[in-house]
């Protein structure tokens, strides 16, 4: 297992929370804040954002005191092929689903994401994708009548 990020994990964790808090609090300032008695829409985002910033600082701060152990370091074994395929699957479902319908979208989604696993071959991915496509169309198109065409050409929605 390689350690890519040498800094303690909780520094990143805290920083991420501070960032999220800043985004929320900043967004809240765009709307009327109001008073405690008559709160405006901006009140809660700002309050929660500030709270998240404080917690983020606490997460990073408590990590500074504790002794570093193996599990406190971010350990990623990069899995580019798997990650790319898992992200590509739903992306293809969205893109193809919008223009060509449910059947090709399902096939593409299952086929591509199946290729993320090193044990899957082109053949096994094709069989799996075909099976899921048939089952999916039967269930969602015919039985549950989802308003998504099975096959179409160009935008339908």
């Amino acid at each position: 297992m390689r350690h890519f990020l040498r800094l303690k994990r909780d520094y990143y964790a805290g920083a991420l929370m501070v960032l999220l808090g800043l985004i929320a609090a900043n967004d809240g300032t765009h709307y009327p804040i109001g008073t405690l008695r008559q709160m405006g829409p901006g009140y809660f985002p700002i309050a929660l954002g500030v709270l998240l910033i404080v917690i983020g600082i606490l997460i990073a701060g408590t990590a500074a005191g504790a002794a570093a152990s193996e599990e406190d370091v971010v350990a990623i074994r990069p899995e580019w092929r798997g990650w790319a395929c898992i992200i590509a699957g739903p992306t293809l479902f969205i893109a193809i689903g919008r223009y060509a319908g449910m059947l090709p979208a399902t096939f593409a989604c299952v086929f591509v994401s199946a290729l993320g696993d090193r044990q899957n071959t082109l053949k096994s991915a094709t069989i799996l994708a075909a099976g899921v496509s048939i089952f999916g169309v039967l269930l969602f198109h015919y039985l549950l009548k989802l308003p998504m065409p099975m096959l179409s050409w160009g935008t339908w929605s």
Binding site: R9, D10, Y12, A13, L16, D27, Y31, P32, L36, R37, Q38, M39, G40, P41, P45, L48, L51, L52, I55, G56, I59, T62, G65, A66, S69, E71, V74, I76, E79, R81, G82, W83, I86, I87, G89, P90, T91, F93, I94, G97, R98, M102, A105, T106, C109, V110, S113, A114, G116, D117, S124, L128, A129, V132, G136, F140, L144, L146, M148, S157
Partner: protein, 516 residues
């Protein structure tokens, strides 16, 4: 009081035995049982996938089915732990310790048989508790004003985030993050779009299924891909007649089941603890009171019976605060509550009187469902064992499709599918940084109601923030919440010198694949 409860229960059985409801209850526990056995797909993801399918159904059938998935999956999880030593479903991780050694000695069937009996006893007690306790809680909660509701939610959120798995500070961070996601979209009172960053599609907010499937589906797959789980199924040959335990074994296991049930029911009353902690505590208790504690880990039947009974008693008990107060204790309960809200039902103390069919029907269906599960598990155990061999390489691509179509079906909106993917990628980053995603769902579901009640409380009290400690009931909740935070600070200070407590626990816990 007992009489009215029994009459209501009788009515509930009437509801649950309607063929339509019975069918969906059966379907729910069957699907739950199945995904419980499958490593890599947890109840949260399964319920989220099924949730959009329930939109067209009647509320009673929908809730019965979704709840069935949850407790059904608990029966399946034990099979994984005992026969294959795979702790993929966290509440059953502790069952591996003595369950797998029993399997190696050729007594896997007995362990499973004991599990089924213990589960049923635990569940029955949890249900009984719900029948009598929930109406009492409701009577108290009916008198709550916005300030009390607010402090109760605060208590629930703090308990849910600090007592659950992982670092309490990170749990609170995730709760706040969930509350923020709950704010996305048009503000209820003024209609101002908040946290939408100019994206029109976000005006309606984030769908609960998009959030749940991003965090518990896609993020888990990104984590689990190409991480081969090795297991040995050479002992996993169990026949029907192996299941029957001997009299001596039953005699040893029975008191353990009762103790486990008791611990589980205590844990279920504290929001946020739930089945995982219940099973760990009851295992530790068994070990402590045993005359031969050194034998634990080598195949003690008590070490299987107690945690399983306590898991089930706490799983059923988890429904008490959810259904009677509208405060969910964990991610699954948050989803069930979300399902109710989608059906247009306002959760809270008025639920039992306004929708008695849902409440009492659900309770009755628990019993029916548990009996179905016992009946299913005993003859079908061989089939479930075969199911264990379904490889991950086929499971996750199919699940990804179901996630896509499920989220799309929730609102016929492709944007939410894209959102799910984004949440999933972000959720994986959160997992890498040691955050547990369950409190996000809690915050998300409670967030809008929390804000609404908070605003109302402020309006009534003319902006007096101390209203929460001036009302006695509310003050108790705030005090308890403060106590919880104090407890965490004390624990943290004690942990400072060495990291003793955490290390001891991590030995048992396998963060392999699953969710809570």
């Amino acid at each position: 009081m007992i009489e009215t409860a029994l009459t209501d229960l009788w009515y509930g059985f009437g509801v649950a035995f309607e063929p339509h409801n019975l069918m969906f209850c059966f379907l729910g526990v069957l699907v739950g049982n199945m995904v419980g056995v499958l490593p890599g797909l947890g109840p949260v993801a399964t319920i989220s996938i099924l949730l959009p399918l329930t939109f067209g159904m009647k509320p009673v059938a929908a809730i019965l089915m979704l709840a069935g998935v949850f407790y059904g999956s608990q029966y399946g999880g034990a099979i994984c732990s005992i026969l294959l030593n795979l702790p993929t479903h966290p509440p059953h991780a502790v069952t591996c310790l003595d369950g797998y050694p029993l399997t190696k000695q050729g007594k896997g069937g007995v362990a499973l048989g004991i599990t089924v009996i213990g589960s049923f006893i635990g569940a029955s007690w949890g249900i009984t508790e719900m029948i009598f306790l929930a109406p009492v809680l409701v009577n108290v909660a009916m008198k709550f004003g916005p300030a009390e509701v607010c402090s109760l939610m605060l208590l629930g959120l703090i308990a849910g985030s600090t007592l659950a798995r992982g670092s309490p500070l990170k749990g609170v961070a995730m709760t706040v993050f969930g509350l923020l996601i709950g704010l996305v979209g048009a503000d209820v009172e003024t209609g101002t779009p908040r946290l939408t960053f100019g994206i029109l599609d976000l005006y309606d907010g984030v769908e609960i299924v998009a959030l749940a499937l991003g965090l518990f589906g896609i993020a888990e797959f990104l984590k689990g891909i190409n991480r081969e789980i090795r297991f040995d199924d050479k002992y996993a040959n169990v026949k029907f007649r192996d299941l029957r335990p001997s009299k001596a074994e039953l005699k040893r296991a029975f008191p353990a089941m009762l103790r486990g049930t008791f611990i589980g029911s205590l844990c279920s009353l504290i929001p946020g603890t739930g089945p995982i902690i219940a099973s760990f505590v009851s295992y530790a208790t068994e070990k402590k009171i045993s005359r031969t504690p050194e034998k634990f880990g080598t195949g003690m039947i008590e070490g299987v019976a107690a945690p399983e009974a306590s898991t089930h008693s706490s799983v059923q008990g988890d429904f008490i605060p959810t259904m009677s107060l509208g405060i969910p204790g964990d991610a699954v309960m948050a989803l069930i509550l979300g399902a109710l809200m989608i059906q247009g039902i306002v959760p809270g103390p008025q639920l039992i009187s306004e929708h008695p069919d849902i409440f009492w029907g659900l309770i009755a269906s628990f019993w029916i469902g548990n009996i179905i599960l016992v009946a299913l598990n005993v003859p079908l155990i061989g089939l479930w064992v075969k199911l264990l061999a379904v490889p991950y390489k086929y499971l996750y691509p199919s699940a990804l499709f179901f996630i896509c179509i499920g989220v799309y079906g929730a609102n016929n909106d492709m944007f939410q599918v894209a959102l799910t993917l984004g949440i999933g990628i972000f959720g994986y980053i959160l997992l890498l940084l040691g955050f547990h995603p369950a409190p996000v769902l809690l915050g998300f579901v409670l967030g809008p109601r929390f804000e609404e009640n908070f605003r109302r409380a402020m309006l009534i009290s003319r902006g007096d923030i101390f209203v929460f400690v001036k009302h006695p009931i509310s003050a108790v909740f705030v005090g308890l919440a403060a106590l919880l935070i104090l407890l965490q600070i004390v624990l943290w200070l004690r942990r400072m010198p060495g990291l003793r407590i955490r290390n001891r626990k991590s030995g048992i816990r396998n963060p392999a694949l699953s969710d809570s």
